[in-house]
Amino acid sequence: MPDLQNISITSESDARGSFCPGPLMELIRLVRAGAVGDVLAVLSKDDGSKRDIPTWVAKAGHEFLGMEPFENATRFIVRKAK
């Protein structure tokens, strides 16, 4: 697993308390707006994100670098691979 502490994040969305569009939509937004190789992060308090985000990342062919607790939420970190 990558060392999440030392990874440099290109852009991040704080989607805590976001019900619409929601954390996964925010991540997809960042991926679509980013460049190949960018490291993108989203903060989510939604438990469903732990299942939904890695599932979408795998389906869309990007790289899920991991997740880590952050304050009262979880930070999901993804590399845009294509």
Binding site: F19, C20, P21, G22, I28, R29, T55, A60, G61
Partner: protein, 381 residues
């Protein structure tokens, strides 16, 4: 000397903010100017109904000047540059306007050209012209495959593709074309809608109406020759009509600006709505980069906070009262077809808990659409 408050944008957010500030200040205290590229104020939620032949587009607009209080100065011009250090706004006419306080309410604009093939082969209802073109196309339609989806994120009015799908299904059924038409609804995530408390109702109602659902579908391109739409997840569907909500961008002078990201979304504090890195600039509505709905109701509920914040800054007083902070409030009707609708009402602390679609809410939405001109821009509600 009166403080110069400049508001960029004459949509719902800019108009309401201007009127609230005009009520707050005497002319001696503040001079309020709205800059709008268009002399028209358009009620954009009305475009949803246009493709189905209902509604007159001329009913969806009013002269902006008629909606502004007389204390507000209106200048029809296009912003080409914002210099937040010099505190000036440059306009297309060549005029350079200085300000003491600035409100950014320039909204968002559809950008179908961002997706290959979308302009040539796609349809949408996010402009008056596109909604009218789709009306013509649907009127000539006599069966086939209709594909619906979202072509990029973020987009304005997250419920709109769901509503369009339900209204389309009803429209085709009433014309006797339903059993000759495959309707396929696609959505970017692994559910037919973003909110877990709403998605099951949307899914059940779509399945009941034999609407095909394809989740995890983020449009990558359309081949106008073969009329096939492909997602970045790798699935493809042929169509006769493809209705995709276009990707959206912020105002062009904000794209890549120091106060915004490269798409033009302005970075603000989620409660004070103050633009980060500034002490005298605020932003609201579609203009901001908050991960909340880009919708008129968002701007509607944010405008009182902007007015309170600007008033506090002008008078060098601490901002207090119920509108001092924005709590994430958004309220959206969801048309579910067959003259039924429901209401999504939520904020940062809790998701909506909508009732089952019902007649009362549908007629409530129609009443709101008509009452909008009287009650919203003026700040009566």
């Amino acid at each position: 000397m009166a403080k110069r408050i400049v508001i960029l944008g004459g949509g719902m957010g800019g108009t309401l903010t201007a009127n609230l500030l005009a009520k707050e200040f005497s002319r001696k205290e503040a001079e309020i100017t709205v800059i709008s590229a268009s002399p028209r104020h358009v009620y954009q939620p009305g475009w949803l109904y246009i493709p189905f032949g209902s509604g007159d587009v001329t009913e969806l607009e009013r002269p902006l000047e008629s909606l502004l209080r007389k204390e507000v100065k209106l200048r029809i011009d296009r912003v080409v540059k914002l210099d937040s250090d010099a505190q000036t706004v440059s306009l297309a006419s060549g005029k350079v306007l200085p300000y003491d306080y600035l409100v950014l309410a320039t909204g968002s604009v559809g950008a179908p050209e961002m997706v290959p093939g979308l302009v040539e082969a796609g349809d949408h209802f996010y402009t008056e012209a596109a909604a009218l073109a789709l009306r013509t196309k649907l009127a000539d339609f006599d069966g086939g495959r209709i594909l619906i989806g979202v072509a990029g994120l973020p987009y304005k009015c997250p419920v709109a593709p769901v509503e369009f799908t339900f209204l389309l299904e009803e429209h085709l059924r009433k014309r006797g074309l339903r059993n000759k038409t495959e309707i396929r609804y696609t959505f970017p995530i692994n559910a037919p809608f973003t909110i877990p408390t709403v998605a099951p109702m949307v899914e059940a109602r779509m399945l009941e109406r034999k609407i095909e659902i394809e989740t995890f579908f983020n449009l990558e391109s359309i081949d106008p020759g073969t009329k096939v739409a492909t997602s970045l997840e790798g699935s493809s569907f042929p169509f006769d009509i493809a209705v995709f909500v276009p990707p959206h961008l912020g105002a062009d002078f904000l794209r890549g600006h120091a106060l915004a990201d490269k798409s033009g979304w302005v970075s603000v504090d989620r409660e004070s709505l103050q633009v980060k890195g500034t002490s005298n600039v605020w932003a609201l509505g579609d203009t901001v980069n908050l991960p909340i709905s880009k919708a008129g109701s968002t701007a509607h509920f944010q405008a009182p906070t902007i007015a309170a914040q600007v008033a506090g800054a002008v008078r060098a007083r601490q901002v207090a009262g119920k509108h001092a902070r924005y709590d994430g409030h958004v309220m959206c009707f969801l048309e579910a077809g067959d003259s039924k609708a429901t209401l999504l009402d939520f904020n940062y602390s809790g998701p909506p808990q909508p009732k089952q679609p019902n007649f009362a809410m549908h007629f409530g939405k129609l009443a709101f659409n008509s009452a909008y001109w009287l009650v919203v821009p003026s700040g009566r509600v």
